[in-house]
Symmetry: C2
Subunit: 500 residues, 2 copies
């Protein structure tokens, strides 16, 4: 009997987040739910920070209602979410009671599996959320953010898994958000965890496909004993997304491992999302190929575009190479944090400051907080002189306690403020939406009654205009072009033609 491998489908969360800027509307998701529910997945990932944010920011859609819709339409499959530990779905640390309340309400509305991570891999930032998930009787998945540095060794990741196991996590996730996890490392880490935590510990592997090697990494992880892997239906896969679900199924043929996935359902889903994808053409990622440069620079693609934008704003677009060389130095000074939201932005912005203004002449407030321990603990020591400078700059002392321990109870205040917003319905769900994204939620409450928007467009109604040369040939005669403004679906296009 081949060993059964579980699969988590990412199409409703990370796949469209990575490939189409998290813009897929619930209307385009609903027709896929029956096949998703019947295909035999262990879980369907469908909720997280970006999807929540996008719902209220762009789609005028209540993310809690989205969750309830999934629960109703997928009664046979676990629903899974990504939770930023003490940050929940936001960008700051929340006081423990807010964390507990959020987890409780997510569970009540239908969530089954909570993948809990912290950008610095500081276990203390996961503790409260994991305990809340356990208290709700749901599946708590403790997460290791995978990265590479002189300090990140197999032993170190295995030790972190052991600490997650000690927190009573139901499973361990290795989360490789930058596609850095190579096949050999995948094997070693999964094997190490199994040997250290016991063969019964459930290990799940999440990889992106940017570097092109990670389907091989999944194969090696499975050989090392991984129980569950993450993939996305092929029509929303590859590039900065994930490995295709159908390829995973076929890859295992004859290997002694098998998924229980129904290929007919998967191909239904493939064809369905093949039709959905072109409707979101304007949001699709520009990156479609493979980027192995990340292995050398260790800087994820999204972070590079952020830094490029910052440099261009300062009229210093030509200094990217210096910034790329500065990032590893800043990362070392900060104790080698993984580069993932928000640490990637903090390190990247400081590197830009260093290049433009001189090394550490100016510290960003966030970088000072990172140096002072206000985001948590890093794997390596932080540069002592810089910590002193940060303390002076920020006028506060470095801490070594859990950042959330400094917070005072805040639920009542959040509730009071939320209820003041026009359109807030007074439920805990609305208070939590407000707690995560105060301004965006307040605006959303006011327009909620208009109902969800679908930003997808009929691809046949789309005009794509690339720059024209200054002179065009019409029926063989060179003519000066005439320029027209074409407004289509709300966007104005300049079209330059000569009349025939």
């Amino acid at each position: 009997m081949p060993k059964h491998i579980d699969v988590t489908e990412l199409i409703l969360r990370d796949a469209h987040q990575s490939l189409m800027a998290t813009r897929m509307s619930i209307e385009d998701m609903i027709p896929a739910c029956a096949d998703l529910d019947q295909a035999g997945y262990w879980s369907v990932e469908c909720w997280g920070g970006a999807t929540f944010d996008s719902c209220i920011r762009f789609l005028n859609e209540d993310p809690w209602e989205r969750l309830r819709t999934f629960r109703k339409l997928m009664p046979n499959t676990r629903l899974q979410m990504l939770l930023r530990g003490q940050n929940l779905l936001g960008y700051r640390h929340y006081e423990d009671h807010v964390v507990e309340r959020f987890v409780h309400k997510a569970a009540e509305n239908g969530m089954d599996v909570f993948r809990v991570f912290d950008a610095l891999n500081d276990i203390r930032n996961l503790k409260c959320a994991v305990a809340a998930v356990k208290a709700a009787g749901k599946h708590a998945q403790g997460t290791i953010c995978y990265t590479t540095s002189p300090l990140h060794t197999t032993e170190q990741f295995v030790a972190m898994a052991k600490r997650l196991q000690d927190l009573q996590c139901d499973s361990i996730c290795i989360k490789d958000m930058a596609a850095l996890l190579k096949p050999h490392a995948a094997y070693e880490i999964v094997r190490g965890i199994k040997e250290s935590c016991g063969e019964d510990i459930r290990v799940q592997v999440h990889v992106h496909s940017t570097t092109g090697v990670t389907l091989v990494s999944l194969m090696e992880a499975i050989k090392a004993g991984a129980d569950c892997v993450d993939t996305a239906i092929s029509s929303l896969s590859l590039g900065p997304g994930h490995n295709p679900t159908e390829s995973l199924v076929e890859m295992l043929d004859g290997t002694g491992y098998t998924t229980s996935l129904d290929m007919e359902r998967l191909l239904n889903l493939k064809r369905y999302f093949n039709k959905v994808r072109p409707r979101y053409a304007e949001f699709l990622s520009n990156i479609t190929g493979v980027e192995t440069e990340i292995f050398q620079s260790q800087i994820p693609g999204g972070m590079i575009s952020n830094m490029e934008g910052q440099l261009k704003q300062q009229g210093a677009g030509d200094r990217m190479q210096e910034v790329l060389e500065e990032v590893p130095r800043v990362r070392k000074d900060a104790g080698y944090p993984p580069l993932v939201t928000p640490s990637s932005q903090i390190v990247g912005t400081q590197a830009v400051f260093n290049v433009l203004l001189g090394r550490y002449k100016v510290l960003s407030g966030e970088f000072a907080d990172l140096m002072l321990g206000y985001y948590g603990e890093t794997i390596g020591p932080r540069d002592t002189a810089l910590v002193e400078q940060a303390a002076k700059h920020a006028k506060k002392q470095p801490i070594d306690i859990r950042p959330a321990d400094l917070l005072k109870p805040e639920w009542q205040e959040l509730r009071t403020k939320a209820i003041e917003q026009k359109g807030c319905d007074g439920t805990d769900e609305d208070v939590l939406s407000y707690a995560m994204f105060p301004q965006v939620a307040a605006k959303f409450f006011g327009t909620r009654s208009e109902g969800p928007k679908n930003l997808g467009k009929d691809p046949n109604a789309k005009v794509v205009i690339a720059p024209l040369p200054s002179v065009v040939t019409v029926n063989g005669v060179m003519r000066e072009p005439v320029t027209y403004d074409v407004k289509l679906n709300g966007t104005t296009h300049k079209v330059t033609v000569s009349a025939s």
Copy 2:
């Protein structure tokens, strides 16, 4: 010490053949040659039937001159070509002396490695070409076309490898043109060959990436002892193309295997071809994602589009499903040939005939020839009743000898005819071009002096026009559209706009 794995780079032949209709001009290849030559490849594949054909059909370029250019610009790297056995680069069997002459002239002009295959895996069709390569003192690579059927077993492929070894081939290639080679099968076949033919036999693996699983197959093949694998620089990889060279290099990190490739050179090449690719936008493959359906249908993507075209011409576009179900039956009746040029076209066309006109009511001439053994031997028995019908239809008897044994010496006649063509320079190279593609070569001889064409276009001069809705809004006012003909770079575009 990690085991060294050799790599063949496909960018100058199969990569642009699979992804941009073989249209890349020599002008766009030359700037890459220094990096290709210095990167540390075992060989660079750069010549084959389609590139030869495309040179004289579309690019007004002498393929022999292209070969000499490569030889001059890549003095340190083996040049490799794909040769269709007794068919050489054409679509019919050539008499032995033509085969010998072709191989001799290819070697003389700079070719080092000859990958020799036959669409039916009939060893007799490889024999003459392999002997000619050996006589020229070059590397003869005997090729197994990989396919799946009830008769294609690991044992059968291993037995074929043994027969290729007996022909004194310098290496064995497993050629997976449809991306059907799964990881487990790759391991089993390579291991089987090594165990049967000796660990010293050199095994090379060629896979396409259409199904998304074959980088994993390369990993397994390497573990089983494969000595050399084929990849393409990432900017012309994936989809119906191949696995990215950079990903292969990175995948092996820490595994006990290594390539000697210089990553800096590879990334130079990546950036270079990233700029070349958009210039050929109009020729780029529509398929960019993963297609695992091939595992079920066993029908390669290119063959499906051919059959769709045939059905549509007959106004029967809705009968594709019937044809897809008919193909495996026709393939079985024909003795399970691999589906690769020309057998894929022959089987596909007959399946279309069967659906439109009734099963075997009409036989194509090529299908009759296939049934009668005029393409060679198939792995399975051919349907007896159909062989009889084919004999009646074609008015000839089935054969079991090597098809080329029926041919009379033809060199002198080919030479005489070639020299009659205007512009033929009387060299053996010109005679061979004429022998491969008589009409196309004759036309090319006449225009050769005009020099090579570059079909690439400045992507910034490109207008992409998608169908417009019947009414457009200009500055908020609905207006009837006006249609213009815009002729740009030789193509006429209909542009429908309202003047602002």
